[in-house]
Amino acid sequence: HRCPPCRTPGCPPPHGSRPRGRPAGATHGGSMWQVGKRQASRAFSLYANIDILRPYFDVEPVQVRARLLESMIPVKMINFPQKIAGELYGPLMLVFTLVAILLHGMKTSDTIIREGTLMGTAIGTCFGYWLGVSSFMYFLAYLCNAQITMVQMLSLLGYGLFGHCITLLVTYNIHFHSLFYIFWLVVGGLSTLRMVAVLVSRTVGHTQRLILCGTLAALHMLFLLYLHFAYHKVVEGILDTLEGPNMPPFQRVARDIPVVSNAVLNTTAKAIALTL
């Protein structure tokens, strides 16, 4: 029984092969050897997995910076497929940054989660969004016949989270609703447009483009809205609980407009009452 030639140096012998000089009938020693070999091969496969992932982390700092900037600049070129870097370092770091920002937002908004920690929720939300939406979009892209691989999808969506990070970092600290909506439209919109442009350039057919890009844009923008309002300092929520549910609905929408409109309504009502 000869060991087949190994491709990589230092790999454990394949299953079924025994080191030279060990008798086949040694029961106890044989089982020990089996266990040891299994553990060794498991450890080796872990390292092999790291080696599989390594090409996706092969970047320079300058490249990462350039890609971060590019993620905010939509390119209007839909005749020719745009390039997507199949790289996971930047997306992964952006997701972790988003986790940190979410933790900050949760702490300042006094979010209390009964079953589980804030950390777990933040990590679950961010990674769930990144992996879940990427796989969903990949599936959809497969159905719509778009030319994109899973790694490219992950990279595209991950860099798209850069806009989210900026928006949330600013608006968790500066509490203006108008500011958030401006950021939501401009920064979130730019990063969404970038992704949509890339997807459009890689899809053929109007219906397919519409389905793919509509889904992605809706999911991406709604996720930002959700993150903002779920963990923002809950001012409107407190107002709701304090003043009861029988309020006219428009008073709960924004903070600065209702005060004015309320005052106007009150004065007009008083004026009408006085004239009557």
């Binding site: 992932l53 982390f57 320079e60 770091m93 972790f96 940190a100 702490k107 950390m119």
Partner: protein, 174 residues
């Protein structure tokens, strides 16, 4: 006893970060464990009275430190670093020490009283210790990285210590 001496020597190494490989050569996880437990206990202490807050806080600190260290280590390995898994874990754990000191100072300052002055003092202390932690761990870990990628390795370390120091800064006993 010999181990205790080794742990103490490593503490000194973190306090005076020099380019030496003593922290890398013989790693142990006792120091990180002690530091992590101390930090978590001090962070928990404030909310120990209220029943539902205490548990998650302790667990949260623990999880953040270990999970973060593992992620940084995997990241540095993926970027092509030549450092073993536990060596990196050991360095990152020992470099939490300035932040533990900062936490101790913060508690003492908070004992003295609250207000803007105490917040500014805490901000300065935590900021300085955060810079110290980051610099110390970078000094130890950067040598094992290819020189053109140092920034990519430093960023997650920065984020990791930033989250911890931010937790320390916002901590207030109830």
């Amino acid at each position: 006893m010999r181990d205790l001496k080794a742990v103490g020597k490593k503490f000194v190494h973190v306090m005076y970060p020099r380019k030496s490989s003593a922290l890398l050569r013989d790693w142990d996880l006792w120091g990180p464990l002690v530091l992590c437990v101390a930090l978590a206990l001090m962070l928990q202490g404030g909310s120990a009275d209220s029943k539902d807050d205490g548990g998650p806080q302790f667990a949260e600190v623990f999880v953040i430190i270990w999970f973060g260290a593992v992620v940084i280590t995997l990241n540095s390995k993926l970027l092509g670093g030549t450092i073993s898994f536990f060596q990196s874990l050991c360095v990152l754990g020992y470099c939490v020490m300035p932040l533990t000191v900062a936490m101790l100072v913060c508690r003492l300052v908070l004992l003295a009283g609250g207000g803007t002055v105490s917040f500014i003092v805490r901000l300065i202390v935590v900021g300085a210790m955060f810079a110290w932690s980051t610099l110390a761990s970078t000094a130890f870990l950067a040598d094992s990285q290819p020189p053109n990628r140092k920034a990519l390795v430093v960023y997650p370390i920065f984020l990791f210590y930033f989250v911890i120091s931010w937790m320390i800064l916002t901590f207030t006993p109830q």
